[in-house]
Symmetry: C2
């Protein structure tokens, strides 16, 4: 699908906005950021850093709440712009907008509560190795953070998304590399955040935006950047990791990359509610055009009549499903190539499809391939972005295990089982846990609740980190510990001074609450 | 100083033990570990991993306490062997032994308390984005960990050291690459740990030992290894980071590398107690042969009579200090080369020395160079292992700041100041905090208390991590979060089940204590 650009061709540094439903590109007034501009932006972020930290937890909480309010003020324009740039349904984007505002306010609550600081005080004491000094520990922000917006979440994983919210809450200035799929949405969100900064007396340079792939690379190489948050492809991540490898000072890279998200239907679950699970599965793989990082890319279904009913229901639900519009030309091209390659694997027994792709833009046909769990290979277990999944049939638990063991690690693993299958359930949980960051029971992995107990992460290639990128604890990525030894009271951060403690504190090893 | 090896020359795979006081090498019955052996050891560690985790917090706490008891049982042999292999004083090694046992027991306490699990439960609830599922989060061990023993701490940062203790506490099997400076000490400690495993029903493969640089490289490349703990040189770290860069699956590298540890004497502190500070400084830079990662490598002293008295006292204390035996031939050779290069820098005003090196083994002369803070350069601010330091004189606060700003980041930063200098003290603390993980006031950075509030880490090149490597929170390096969504009770780890909670828990966002 060639892009139908306007004539005359835009200047090479002009940012274009593409409507994926038509494939039509429109010139914007935005331009790609030059290396010199990136350097200047990073330097300004670094010099705003100490002032931003001095705003304190209360000042940053005010700022985050003001961002939420400004995003709400501009909601209609943001959602309609995002809709034009991504082709995602308005209902989905409205929900994503609500989630984005909720996330900002949740991190403000995290700041109010203060437990994330991991405050600890060890009073001076005799130890088996002699007298020990007074030690007081707190987490402090690491410095300016580069965030790469994701194609598939123009709000919740982009300019005002989770990486940004958690880094700002930590006290780190953020420079976002806007995703090429939604530049106008990015600029609108950035504008709302700039208004919130002005309103709450936060330095304007605390949130910045750059455009273009070269600008992203320059940002990651910049000496002022202290960490990178990234949601995107494995190949994109590997390119950025190479840049980090060439830096004089290595920095943490928090990447969320690739995930196949297995879903197991046990024999009893197939018998009890195979058709219902199949319908839920089709909804889950077609939601947002199948472009969710938690899309269940592979479902294990037992052999036999109950499994057959499950697959038949899946076939019907898929046949009734609409064709889907993908986010951009690259994803569209990849889907066409990868789905064709998958469908022609010798191991594939049958190919089920939904409504055929429409004639315009980046439209595609939803697709499900069936094969044997014992025939799973690297090719059939690699994530394919878009409304496509694999049904792996299994004859017995041994074949199911063989199939699961061949899978790479994922963000999630899901089991549909019945209460009487306690042994099988325990075994599957144990098998899946080393391969996932979230285990779901009798549900679907799409839909990631933003809360305190959430984990959105998993072993490589799902992520390359030991932290979550969604939920309150994602703030830990942008903090490092500092200890003050025998410090005079005025030098200490107020949370560590003697007197009334207003946050959770570990005092001589014992956790105490305010 | 050529090594005086025995005749006939040992086979190439024989591990030798060298006495640094004489430089004499003795053949041992140990041999360097082959690549095939490394592969087998890693595979066994991986297969012991689930069994080790099943021992639970209580089982692992018992194991750690048994290790401490076994290390104590074999203390005399361990300390005397370490003394022969490192040349460190017996008093220092006895204290290090006590610290090592204390550390094991402290991590057992951490397991008993359970707060390190960061347990959180969010009950199912309505959210602005619709109904949210029940989520329950816990940290779980990541898998087998490779630990590189340090030359300068044959116990507390080697086989039974902090990386090992924290990884075992987390539930991760550990494979230690023994440092070539103390192979027999390493084997003895490993033996004590193996006895503790047998005694407490822990799989023997949970602690393993490999010898030789090639074995270390093979270990880091091995697919079963999930993290690396390293204390050593910047160049050693960079070599291992390159191996990690070539792995199919990237893994976290927790390295503690290089640290200059600035110490500032303010004008009032010089006036009040310059001589006392100078004596403490000389003790601090000559302790353990100046081979501590927290050795203050540079001290800022004001111009004027009080500063002159400080430097005079330093000269006297240094002149009275003994010559020092370094740990091995490589460190000895580096010291001779680097101290000569430092002393001949054009900026150096004078060279102060201690007792001249003895004729045998790896003996060296303690040395202090004086220059102007404004003349500090990369060459004069790079860590030099051994009993050497720089005195940087400053005329005013501006020159002091100029000097401090030229320093790379460190593990520690120290200020000696008087109460009346509150403005200067605040300014220096603010300037040093971005450059250190621990700020010390009116003390010395050597001596790292093992406790809950400790931080042993700092920005690059001190470390490359956002975690500490000493103290209870170092356990976080070897854990990753997992969330169970809508899980049946029996599938959940016992800490997350409904009922009486015995560990700190964040319930619907509120931290509650047991």
């Amino acid at each position: 699908m060639p892009i139908d650009t306007e004539h005359p061709a835009p200047a090479p540094d002009t940012v274009v906005s593409v409507d994926p439903r038509s494939g039509r590109a429109t010139r914007t007034s935005l331009h790609t950021t030059t290396d010199d501009e990136v350097t200047a932006i990073s330097r300004r972020a670094a010099s705003a850093f100490p002032r931003f930290e001095r705003a304190g937890r209360a000042g940053r909480a005010r700022f985050l709440r003001a961002i939420a309010a400004r995003l709400e003020l501009h909601r209609d324009e943001i959602v309609s712009t995002a809709q034009r740039e991504t082709g995602l349904p308005t209902a989905r984007l409205t929900s994503e907008h609500a989630r984005t505002c909720y996330q900002m306010r949740l991190f403000a609550d995290v700041l109010d509560e203060g437990g994330y600081l991991e405050a600890a005080i060890d009073h001076a004491a005799d130890t088996p190795m002699g007298p020990g000094p007074d030690l007081r520990r707190l987490l402090v922000p690491i410095g300016p953070v580069a965030v790469f917006g994701a194609s598939n979440f123009p709000l919740a994983f982009s300019v005002p998304g989770g990486d940004t919210a958690s880094a700002l809450a930590a006290g780190c200035p953020v420079i976002v590399k806007a995703h090429g799929s939604h530049p106008l949405t990015s600029a609108l969100c950035h504008q709302a955040m700039a208004e919130a900064a002005a309103e709450t007396d936060i330095p304007a340079d605390v949130v910045a935006l750059v455009f273009g792939q070269d600008a992203g690379a320059a940002l990651v190489a910049d000496a002022h950047i202290t960490a990178v948050g990234f949601t995107g492809s494995l190949s994109g991540a590997q390119a950025l990791l190479r840049i980090i490898g060439d830096r004089e000072q290595p920095i943490p890279f928090y990447g969320e990359l690739s995930s196949i998200n297995p879903l197991v239907v046990t024999p009893a679950a197939a018998a009890a509610r195979g058709a219902e699970i199949a319908r839920g599965f089709v909804t889950s793989i077609t939601a947002s055009g199948g472009q969710l990082c938690t899309k269940p890319g592979i479902v294990f279904v037992p052999d036999g009549p109950d499994g057959d009913v499950t697959v038949d229901s899946l076939r019907s639900a898929l046949a009734a499903s609409d064709h889907q519009v993908l986010l951009n030309e690259r994803i569209h091209r990849s889907y066409l190539a990868d789905s064709t390659a998958l469908a022609s694997l010798p191991a594939v027994d049958s190919v089920l499809t939904g409504t055929a792709a429409g004639p315009d833009g980046f439209s595609v046909t939803p697709m499900v391939l069936t094969l044997r769990a014992g025939d799973l290979s690297e090719a059939s277990t690699t994530e394919c972005f878009g409304p496509i999944a694999v049904v792996a049939r299994y004859g017995d638990e041994a074949e199911l295990r063989t199939g699961l063991e061949r899978l790479p690690a994922s963000l999630t693993g899901t089991v549909h089982a019945e209460a009487e299958e306690s042994g099988l359930l325990a075994g599957l949980s144990e098998l899946l846990r080393p391969k996932a960051g979230r285990l779901i029971f009798n549900g679907f992995p799409t839909g990631v609740r933003v809360s305190w107990a959430q984990t959105h992460g998993g072993p490589w290639p799902a992520t390359n980190t030991v932290h979550t990128s969604v939920g309150t604890t994602s703030i830990r990525r942008f903090l490092r510990p500092v200890t003050w030894q025998d410090a005079p009271q005025p030098v200490l951060p107020e949370e560590l001074r003697d007197g009334e403690h207003r946050i959770p504190l570990r005092l001589n090893g014992t956790l105490i609450l305010p």
